[in-house]
Amino acid sequence: DAGITQSPRHKVTETGTPVTLRCHQTENHRYMYWYRQDPGHGLRLIHYSYGVKDTDKGEVSDGYSVSRSKTEDFLLTLESATSSQTSVYFCAISARDSHYEQYFGPGTRLTVT
């Protein structure tokens, strides 16, 4: 199994509060991704990173920001959480020899009340 951890695994927060989710990898992979999974939508890309301090927007980036100051850590921040951001969030890293095959962390279930 790829060494990917996510923290926290579960979080309940109130509308309007800031929230930061962390993804940590021990594989030293260059590429990292944040997705959200919602019923009827599959997984949708929020932001991704090609390296330290090198990030870009995905399909559903509004309301989210990311940072990557170290190879092993990729942070996803909801500056002011809304109920529409209630979801399961997955971090992924690219495989060592192909950046198409991504390997996923266990997920963070976020509930915004």
Binding site: I4, Y31, Y33, Y35, G40, H41, G42, L43, R44, L45, Y48, G58, E59, F90, A92, S94, A95, H99, Y100, E101, Q102, Y103, F104, G105, P106, G107
Partner: protein
């Protein structure tokens, strides 16, 4: 605009039979396709992939078929086992490593 679609939300098969999961795409620029399997409360796990230069890729019980003219791919599982019960996602890439996922199909294999 759903560029990758899995039109069957669920599929139920008997143990030992073949499971066929289908996926359609609209973007002709997609050049690499993948299938992921997901159990509840876990992250998706990579299952099998296929490049657009091929029409078939096989790995044990799993075979993926690609029909580029129809913009259709399918995953065959033979024989199906109860442990295969999970949600299956197809995904596609047009380069750069970004994946576009379908909505998923829930497979249930009955003993």
């Amino acid at each position: 605009d759903q560029q990758v679609k899995q039109n069957s939300p669920s599929l139920s098969v008997q143990e030992g039979r073949i499971s066929i999961l289908n996926c359609d795409y609209t973007n002709s620029m997609f050049d690499y396709f993948l299938w992921y399997k997901k159990y509840p409360a876990e992250g998706p796990t990579f299952l099998i992939s296929i490049s657009s230069i091929k029409d078939k890729n096989e790995d044990g019980r799993f075979t993926v078929f690609l029909n580029k003219s129809a913009k259709h791919l399918s995953l065959h599982i033979v024989p199906s086992q109860p442990g295969d019960s999970a949600v299956y996602f197809c995904a596609a890439s047009n380069g750069g490593g970004k994946l576009t996922f379908g909505q998923g199909t829930i497979l249930t294999v009955h003993p």
